[in-house]
Symmetry: C3
């Protein structure tokens, strides 16, 4: 199974919770155990797993990333989004999740987040499921 | 094979060498070649690979992470561990290691480390092995 | 398939584009669909995916990493390359790419980069392909 999930972001920097969509895809494919591979095909976005309970954690992550890697025109790259590219390399663009009993195995407080670093845009996320 | 490794951490921020435990699990399962998937089901911890020879490398990693992302109450999230969540996203919560000849394929100086960012706690690490 | 790619780096810090070499390996192995696992067996290097169009993005990534994590002798580790080890943990040493129709599935602007953080050196990259 190789599929594309479309994600519409609404801010320049934003974490979009995609946990339910990934769980639903796994459930539909009826894969009892295996691996779910997530891949971001963009160079100014990323993917991470973090707390799903208190929304302020996402604010703190983005605020700290932008304090360490601020947007601006003091970079060599002239498109004004060098900070977005650097954030993408720091956060990462691929992730694996273990599948067991037909669902993604996550900790109690974990959600899967698509990280927009240069939005708002229409984004894709590639998803591949392999049984095993 | 899908198993949970229990890890007891003893400091707020600490790297725990789990290389031997992972190697032993692979050896017991008698998987000659494949992939070992490691997944941290916590949002204030991470996993990384780094130098296993000189302990000061771990001190430098944690010291620099805490200088860039200091603990404190100046964050929006009110539980006092926003720095731990941010460190988790920067370091990452999943990792793969190639299995060959019934052992994890690592470089000479590489060890696998569970990264505690909000300890001391009892932690879990999920491990899945797939042949291929 | 488990293979080693040799990479010769020419600076202390440098991103080497290995996209064509990975694509060529996948093409030769005639794997129509599956996963390509990339693993860096060094503790002062990493692997990332980022923009392949404008070379200045690489300069900005390395310049910002070295501003946040500068080289120097103010670390505990006495070999003078603590910054390289820390950069390795921040950027990461493993990556997966989805294989579809006998080629790596990447976004339009994405290239795969071996990140040298303590060169120049002769480096290895481990590559494993699994069908599925």
């Amino acid at each position: 199974m190789f599929e594309t999930l479309n994600i519409k972001t609404s801010s320049r920097i934003e974490m979009v919770d995609i946990t339910d969509k990934i769980a639903s895809l796994i459930s539909k494919q009826n894969i009892s155990s295996g691996i779910c591979y997530l891949f971001v095909p963009h160079t100014a976005a990323g993917i991470t797993i973090n707390e799903n309970a208190d929304f302020t954690v996402q604010l703190d992550i983005n605020s700290k990333l932008s304090k360490l890697i601020p947007p601006g025109n003091h970079y060599s790259h002239l498109e004004g989004n060098s900070d977005s590219h650097i954030k993408s390399t720091v956060v990462g663009s691929s992730l694996n999740i273990i599948i067991d009993k037909n669902r993604p195995v996550l900790g109690t407080w974990q959600g899967i987040y698509f990280c927009e670093f240069d939005g708002p845009r229409n984004r894709d996320l590639y998803i591949k499921l392999i049984e095993g």
